[in-house]
């Protein structure tokens, strides 16, 4: 699965994208965040206030309870501030 990070989430994690093999136990965005946090302090810092982090599956906004269901691309980013 391809993971993408944007804005300060990208800065805290220290990379803009990566490809990961998920353990079988990870089936929702929430579980993916918990798994990412176990990978190091940079992820813990990025997801410290996880309620404020937005997620997208295959380029569509989704709530954290959403199932991954074979998604190919998941992105994490702060609330958007364009316009």
């Amino acid at each position: 699965m391809k993971l993408l990070y944007f804005a300060w989430v990208r800065e805290k994690i220290g990379k803009s994208e990566e490809t990961v093999e998920l353990p079988a136990s990870v089936s929702t965005i929430e579980e993916l965040i918990t798994w990412l946090e176990s990978r190091g302090p940079e992820f813990q810092a990025a997801f410290e206030n996880k309620d404020t982090i937005n997620a997208a599956i295959d380029q569509a906004h989704v709530p954290h309870q959403t199932a991954l269901n074979g998604a190919s691309e998941v992105a994490f980013f702060p609330p958007v501030t364009g316009g």
Binding site: A7, W8, Q59, A60, F77, P79, T81, G82, G83
Partner: protein, 155 residues
């Protein structure tokens, strides 16, 4: 229907001419242009601080997808003849254009309302992020405003 995400500036007049072409059924053209301000609120919101640069990051692919969905929704809700959305990314400076929305309709109400709808949804759905460089100190990511997500509730 036009959607563009680009670093280059845009000409409002050229974009109006391009979308209007030689159509004769258009009674109303509404444009909204967002520009970079030279002042921003400090992190604790207590004072305004001078800004020298603004960097705009986006999520290529999702940005265009979200803008297309927002545009299609506007066209389904109002009798809009055509519309343009252009958003700049990269390094911008005070006074620079950031975003352009143009809506065309037979009568003004549809064009006005659709333009406001497009901007309200763009601001809370399209994956863009602003980072402001103050005159002194480090650049800061701009915080999302409650008022921007509240603006959606009226639609």
């Amino acid at each position: 229907m036009t959607i563009r995400v680009q670093n280059e500036n845009f000409s409002i007049e050229e974009e109006i001419n391009a979308i209007k072409a030689d159509r004769k059924d258009i009674g109303a053209i509404v444009t909204f242009t967002g520009t970079v301000r030279d002042m921003a609120k400090s992190a604790d919101m207590s004072k305004a601080i001078p800004i020298t640069k603004m960097h705009l990051e986006h999520y290529p692919g999702m940005t265009e997808k979200q803008l297309s969905e927002i545009q299609a929704e506007a066209h389904s809700r109002w009798p809009i003849i055509d519309s343009t959305i252009i958003h700049r990314v990269g390094d911008l400076f005070p006074g620079d254009n950031i975003v352009l929305v143009i809506t065309l309709s037979a009568h003004r109400h549809a064009a006005f309302e659709a333009a406001e709808f497009l901007m309200d949804f763009l601001k809370s759905k399209a994956p863009f992020w602003k980072k402001e460089q103050p005159e002194e100190g480090e650049a800061n990511w701009v915080d999302a405003r409650e008022s921007d997500s509240e603006a959606l509730s009226r639609w």
